[in-house]
């Protein structure tokens, strides 16, 4: 079996013959050093390494600096940059057009947890197959530096002074709304970001990854929760995560048994979790809830796969859709036959 790594090294292309360039988008217009750019790069890497044809991915976003970023990756994918806070509904409708495509959304902490909280939570309970990335910087970047709902209480920002309110924890909200894949990461930890994106893309239902993504222009003061230094100092990974696609051999060096956990996804791929300081079981929802609640005010940034239910049926499983994508159905499959109209009229008394 050829592993994806070998192909990259030998030819500069992946197993489906595409180069990294085929996964790039337009040049970024975000600030240099913005965490959102780092995440876009990991989306490119993850898709390249997963050998996904870019045409199979459909990108979505709301409004914000973060939401601009889908223009800067996967230029060969269809995409829709929608309204502030309303990405979930747009993505849901669009993905019904072809249930075989994979949805990938990028949103901000304001876009998701402020104006878009309602749609966010309702998307989760429907378990649409969709990778929902929140680029969480604790601030409104695009409108130049107001508090986002994830900003910690007491935080001081140049424009607005001191934040008087409690923050919202996006992962906790996601878990409370029955999301089937909840993860947190940090833009300064590219490997973890990438592996989580891979796992999220292959997950059967909704996958939420809340990624701390520093805004270097409006909110990167040393030591704050959403800054690069803050993230580096406080990041506390639950495990070391690797995603192993289906049909690929799991080769793990230097691990003795009992040091790893495996979570098998519905398509046969496996998430391998190497234990670090603690033994954390991401399939235990109540444990995940307790962990998040405990960590919320601990000053630590707990990252990794917080919760996963790999088998819960997806939204599409609740519908009896044909295998042919709905958007390729011909007229004879959509308009009832002529003779049916008489029966319909007969039903009208």
């Amino acid at each position: 079996m050829i592993s994806a790594i070998n192909v990259i090294q030998e030819q500069g292309t992946n197993a489906i013959g595409l180069s990294r360039n085929d996964y790039r988008g337009a040049p970024s217009s975000l600030c240099q050093g913005c965490g959102h750019n780092a995440i876009a790069n990991q989306i490119i890497s993850a898709c390249y390494e997963l050998n996904i044809p870019p045409e199979q991915i459909v990108k979505f976003s709301g409004i914000g600096c973060s939401s601009k970023s889908p223009a800067y990756f996967l230029g060969r994918s269809f995409g829709f940059n929608g309204l502030h806070g309303r990405m979930p509904s747009l993505a849901l409708g669009a993905l019904f057009a072809n249930k075989h495509l994979r949805g990938l959304g990028v949103s901000g902490d304001g876009d998701t947890a402020s104006i878009g909280m309602g749609q966010f939570k309702h998307l989760l309970r429907r378990n649409l197959p969709f990778l929902y990335i929140v680029e969480n910087n604790g601030v409104y970047g695009l409108t130049k530096g107001q508090f986002a709902p994830t900003a910690e209480q007491g935080l001081t920002l140049k424009k607005q002074g001191v934040n008087p309110y409690e923050p919202i924890d996006i992962c906790l909200e996601a878990l409370a709304s029955n999301a089937t894949f909840v993860a947190r990461s940090f833009a300064g930890d590219p490997r973890q970001v990438k592996e989580l994106i891979k796992a999220g893309l292959m997950h059967r239902g909704i996958a939420v990854i809340d990624i701390i993504s520093p805004c270097v222009t409006f909110h990167n003061r040393e030591g704050t929760l959403h800054s690069y230094t803050g993230g580096k100092e406080t990041e506390s990974p639950l495990h070391e995560i690797s995603f192993v696609p289906r049909r690929e051999e799991i080769v793990l060096e230097n691990f003795s048994e009992g040091q790893i956990r495996e979570v098998r996804l519905h398509d046969g791929s496996v998430i391998v979790l190497k234990k670090l300081s603690r033994d954390y079981d991401p399939t235990n929802r109540s444990q995940a809830l307790c962990m998040l609640a405990d960590e919320f005010n601990s000053g630590r940034l707990v990252t990794g796969l917080i919760y996963i239910d790999p088998d819960r049926p997806s939204m599409f499983d609740a519908y009896n859709l044909p295998e042919t994508p709905l958007n390729r159905l011909s007229e004879d499959r959509l308009r009832p036959p002529r003779q049916s109209i008489e029966k319909v009229n007969a039903l009208m008394f």
């Binding site: 309204l83 979930p88 509904s89 019904f96 859709l321 009208m348």
Partner: protein
């Protein structure tokens, strides 16, 4: 009997031309009784219409139902009560006042209140006694009580019992226990009336053959069925009166009609109940963008919430169909009363320069027709189509000519799949998402899943050039916006033309839209009886077709008749034809009830100085 019954019938018989109002309590099961009478009369071949005037309440408040029986086929609201059936003590006195002199007043005799009118025929009905005799289980007694007046009226007016049976059979979907129970009360009540009531009013029904080939249904069901024949693939909705029954009809009929003939056992549509109207329209727009025939149904408050998203669909050029079943606004307003008050809202929706295609169905049959056509227009023009129906049309039962199978194949508009792009490349033509290749303002679009190189594009509500790339350039912006208005010029010639009736020797014109048509039809007849001949145009779409301008130009005096306070259609016509603005006169009102011919006629006569 100790009731004031001094009058004897003095007028000649009135056959198939009168109006009955039922005054009941909301949630008491009267709807079944009323619609049973409506359907029985319809099955007798008599033109009939029924209007439910109901409160925004589930149980307990007064509710009215008016049944109009019209041998002339007039289906509009009549502002008089020949016969009143009073089942609600709370409105007992008021109800008496409404009965025309010489009319008839039926009431449940457990209402121990005096009847003060002496110029009407009064018929007390021993409702409780009959229900008891019919051996109705106690918990169904209140519900079944209304069947007593069905039986009494059947006897007193001449409604055929076998037709009533057909109506019950239909209503209860053949469930014999329910049919038999209700029918037994009706029969008992009819027998009681035959034995105890002496007819002292002039009203009778007689079989006709006018409605023989007709169907009976409501506009929301018609809209749902039309959409199903239009191949609707995606529905997202949020419950709101008076629109809910549209989506519910989709839920009911789509499974019957939309099984995939190829992949058997599969269904070619999806219906999602969204968390609110913003999500509903977002889902529908996403689906429309993905290439599905997508729709939502709502009413005024929901349309208000959809505003931002519809602006995006306008600018990103995404097809989507929105049914707005209008109710009385502003705000929560009168949620269960009808209006044509969302015209200007639909026209001006969203910030910046936007335009919308608006369809204005005027009958149940047209709800069906616009149901499928709306998708053709949305996809052809790549833009939102807002269909304005209303509570009166949408929720009341109407007799109608049968639905007609679509007489044109679907128009899926300008969509390029892999083969099409391949062909274009041979012709050395470049595809750009917003490039106007045909000069009609309508670009070509590609859909997700298309694997042809270069077929994918990034859709955005921000400034974009002909190739979909981000742009803030002044020239590009203006060019795109100009091309968009060109598209709406194209729309004028594609959309349904107005329905016109031009007479010789006409004195002036009348313009209306939607369900106002029923009352105008009758008002014009009455005006003609008074020697005033009129021309008429019922507008069916916006942007207005050229015929609209011509009609306004050619008539010095035009009454624009509509069901709202501000004369919204007149406002829009004034914008459209400022040079002829003085030709237009506003005749509008909004009191929560459908327009009546009498009121329209009176307004016009006053304006005409008669």
């Amino acid at each position: 009997m100790g009731y004031p019954n001094s009058i004897k019938q003095i007028q000649p018989d009135v056959v198939n031309n009168f109006c009955i109002t039922f005054s009941t309590i909301n949630g008491s099961g009267s709807a079944t009784a009323n619609v049973t009478l409506l359907r029985a009369l319809f099955k007798m071949g008599i033109p009939v219409s029924g209007k439910n005037i109901f409160p925004s309440n589930i149980q307990g408040l007064p509710t009215w139902y008016t049944l109009r029986i019209s041998k002339h086929g007039f289906l509009g609201r009549l502002e008089k009560d020949d016969i009143v059936v009073a089942m609600n003590p709370a409105t007992f006195y008021k109800e008496q006042e409404f009965v025309l002199p010489g009319g008839a007043f039926y009431y449940a005799d457990d209402i121990k209140l005096p009847v003060t009118r002496t110029d009407i025929a009064v018929y007390p009905m021993p409702v409780k006694k009959i229900v008891q005799e019919a051996n109705v289980p106690p918990k169904l007694r209140d519900y079944a009580a209304n069947m007593v007046y069905v039986g009494v009226l059947a006897q007193m007016l001449g409604i055929e019992l076998d037709k009533i049976y057909l109506a019950l059979d239909f209503h209860f979907k053949g469930k014999s226990s329910a049919i038999d129970l209700n029918f037994s009360i009706i029969k008992l009540a009819a027998q009681w009336a035959a034995a105890h009531l002496e007819k002292r009013d002039p009203y009778y029904v007689e079989p006709m053959s006018i409605t023989k080939d007709h169907i009976m249904t409501d506009g929301n069901t018609a809209a749902a069925l039309g959409s199903i024949y239009g191949g609707v693939q995606f529905v997202a909705w949020y419950p709101i009166t008076p629109a809910s029954s549209l989506a519910e009809a989709l839920h009911e009929y789509a499974p019957l009609l939309r099984q995939d003939p190829v992949e058997t056992g599969k269904e070619t549509y999806a219906i999602v109940q969204a968390e609110d109207e913003i999500a509903a329209i977002g889902m529908a727009i996403g689906a429309g963008w993905g290439g599905l025939r997508a729709m939502t149904s709502t009413s005024g408050p929901g349309l208000s919430l959809m505003t931002e998203y519809l602006g995006l669909a306008y600018f990103a050029e995404t097809p989507v169909v929105v049914w707005d079943i209008q109710r009385m606004g502003p705000s929560t307003g009168l949620p269960t009363r009808t209006a044509q008050g969302d015209l200007t809202e639909a026209y001006f929706l969203s910030h910046g320069d936007t335009q919308y295609v608006i369809l204005l169905p005027g009958s149940v049959k047209e709800c069906f027709e616009f149901g499928w056509k709306a998708f053709d227009f949305a996809e052809r023009l790549q833009t939102p189509v807002i269909v304005l129906s209303d509570l009166d049309l949408g929720m009341n039962q109407w007799m109608s000519e049968p639905f007609e199978y679509p007489n044109q194949p679907m128009d899926r508009g300008k969509v390029l799949w892999e083969d099409d792009l391949e062909k274009l490349s041979h012709k050395d033509l470049h595809w750009g998402r917003y490039l106007d290749l045909d000069g009609d303002g309508i670009p070509y679009r590609t859909l997700p899943g298309n694997t042809y190189p270069g077929s994918a594009y990034f859709t955005r509500g921000t400034g974009h050039d002909e190739f979909g790339s981000y742009s803030e350039e002044a020239e590009v912006w203006e060019r795109v916006m100009k091309r968009l208005s060109k598209k709406f010029e194209t729309a004028r010639s594609i959309l349904p033309k107005p329905v016109m009736d031009i007479q010789e020797n006409s004195k002036f014109g009348i313009i209306s839209c939607g369900s106002a048509d029923f009352a105008i039809h009758e008002a014009r007849y009455e005006l003609e009886q008074a020697g005033i001949v009129t021309d008429y145009m019922r507008i069916r779409s916006i942007p207005f077709s050229n015929e609209v301008r011509d009609f306004i130009r050619d008539h010095e005096r035009i009454y624009v008749v509509e069901l709202n306070r501000d004369g919204q259609l007149k406002q829009l016509l004034t914008l459209e034809t400022p040079e002829f603005a003085t030709h237009l006169r506003q005749i509008s009102r909004a009191d929560g009830l459908p327009l009546s011919a009498r009121w329209i006629k009176e307004q016009i006569l006053v304006e005409e100085g008669r």
